[in-house]
């Protein structure tokens, strides 16, 4: 199989099923046995059965293992590291939304950070003004971001490519000055300082651990929701829009509807992530949501792997740890190393880290099989 097909396979493979499965090879196995009408050969019965059960189960085992590690982690690390992993999950949820839009629906957004900020500020204002319980702010922040995403998704119906990129960038650009304006509500450029959710006594957890588990719950919820969404008829419609708009249309997929909805969902995840951000940091200010945040997010999901489930997580790790690790090298280094690494990753793994991981797994399996 050519390199190109292989990569496309990896891309699609990561697309709509749990991570860690290989879709390109199973059918090749099935293809080896020519179909004979009437007489079901062994290959014909076995190969599809294998293809159906094993990879899915393998994916779920990987997810379970990941969750086990995630639950174990905060008891082994120092609070600062726990905080960092909490932020990885916050970013992962935001990237999950961006992935839905860019990786699955094939649109582009340079304004994702704005919806993240909307979620964060909605939460902050609710906590600041009305003193709502923390958990109650999550659905409201998500809903507000969803509504705004719906409104800003409308341009996507008419625009595409560069033009859409520009319009979404404008959203990110006008947001920060806007936040500085309404000082009585937003706290202006000083921002708002808020109480973090306190761990209930029965848990026996420290604050950083409690925040970690709250965020973990949000992340698990978000991933389950996205998984369900993409496995449904709606997910298929989004993929159709991404891969061939004209063909999707003649098959009865209403383009304006699904494009707008993709924006709204992606904003909803960003809003939920923003909400968790406010819980964790306990402080919002316009300077936390500058335009580069949106760009960093786009870079994060492209590097993590568009259209894959592990992509947002890998992207979150990248966005969180690369700047902080390179800071240890040299104070001036983060920007340079971050930028260079983006170039290197794109060069080595055009389908992102998730695609790279898939390729490494495949070739390892091939080597093992030969021996």
């Amino acid at each position: 199989m050519s390199e190109r097909t292989n990569e496309r396979g990896a891309f699609a493979n990561a697309g709509s099923e749990p991570p860690g499965e290989d879709r390109t090879r199973e059918p090749a196995k099935a293809a080896d046995t020519p179909p004979r009408a009437g007489t079901p050969s062994r290959g014909r019965v076995l190969a599809p059965a294998l293809a159906r059960v094993t990879p899915g189960r393998r994916g779920w085992i990987a997810v379970a293992a990941l969750l086990a590690v995630a639950c174990y982690l905060p008891f082994q690390l120092v609070p600062f590291r726990v905080f960092q992993f909490t932020m990885v999950m916050v970013y992962a949820v935001a990237l999950l939304g961006l992935n839905l839009l860019v990786g699955h629906a094939g649109q582009i957004s340079l304004g994702h950070g704005a919806f993240f900020a909307v979620g964060a500020y909605t939460t902050a204002i609710m906590l600041d003004r009305w003193d709502l319980p923390h958990l109650a702010t999550l659905p409201i922040a998500a809903a507000v971001a969803f509504a705004l995403g719906l409104a800003f998704g409308l341009p996507a119906v008419r625009l595409r490519g560069l033009y859409l990129a520009l319009v979404t960038l404008a959203i990110a650009i006008f947001l920060v000055p806007l936040l500085k304006r309404f000082e009585s509500v937003t706290g202006g450029s000083m921002g708002l300082t808020l109480a973090k959710p306190a761990p209930p006594a029965w848990t026996g957890l420290a604050e950083d651990q409690w925040l970690y588990f709250l965020t973990l719950a949000v992340a698990v919820l978000a991933f389950l929701l996205a998984y369900g969404l993409l496995r449904s008829r709606v997910g298929r419609a989004l993929h159709a829009v991404r891969d061939n708009e004209a063909a999707a249309e003649v098959m009865g997929v209403r383009l304006p509807f699904y494009k707008t909805l993709a924006f709204a969902w992606s904003a909803m995840f960003a809003g939920a992530a923003g909400c968790a951000y406010t819980w964790v940091i306990g402080f919002v200010s316009p300077d936390s949501f500058v335009v580069t945040l949106s760009i960093t997010m786009l870079a994060g999901i492209v590097i993590g792997g568009l259209g894959s489930f592990s992509g947002p997580l890998l992207g979150g790790l990248f966005v969180m740890f690369v700047p902080s690790i390179s800071q240890d090298v040299n104070d001036a280094a983060p920007g340079v190393i971050f930028g260079l690494l983006i170039i290197v990753v794109m060069y080595v793994a055009p389908t992102g880290l998730a695609g790279l991981a898939g390729r490494v797994t495949r070739s390892t399996k091939n080597i093992l099989r030969k021996e």
Partner: protein, 241 residues
Amino acid sequence: MSAEGFLTISDLNAGYGDARVLHGVNLSVGRGEICAILGPNGAGKTTLMRALSGMVWVRGSIGFDGADLARRSPDTIARRGVAHVPEGRGTFMPLTVEENLRLGAFTRRGRGTVEADLERIYTYFPVLKTRLRQVAGSLSGGEQQMLAIGRALMSRPRLLLLDEPSLGLAPLVTRELFRIVRTVNEQERTTVVVVEQNAHLALGIAQQAHVLESGRIVLSGTADRILQDEKVVQSYLGYRV
């Protein structure tokens, strides 16, 4: 021309932006018929198909089973039972064969009927069943065309539009495809409009044929008559029979 027009196109103009491609096309297709659209490159054959499924601007009327499809959106037309297999197949390359097929049934809900339809498609195209989990991009050209037609049939269309199904395929594969189209037409009474460069093959399965040139219909008649008209074959279809 058939008396009962299941699909009746009258005075149809269509094009892209400022460019008008079709100039007052009239034609009518009876229920359950196969109609071939022939003509040289650039005659407007593909534009006619796109006009029927709402993908280009249209003036005139497209009567389809009592409704007018002109100026309707592509998804509305799809919901009305028109399935378009576009030129170049339009399969979703990164998606699997099964996902492609399921997308074909997008306009319909209800799990049970979709499963039954999948089985129905496999009887026409057994090769697809052996490729279910494979991404469409890794199929051969012929298999992709089969997938595209199978996907269109998943919507249980009343009108099937085939745009150059033979494009880039080996003669043997093309013949097989046309045989299957014939079978589908006979078994499901699906009306078919097929645009084709390979006039001989198309006329072999069609009852009616129309020759399109420079956006106008220059000749209409039964497939047999057009096939026998040597002058037509030479001047419009570009080769001797």
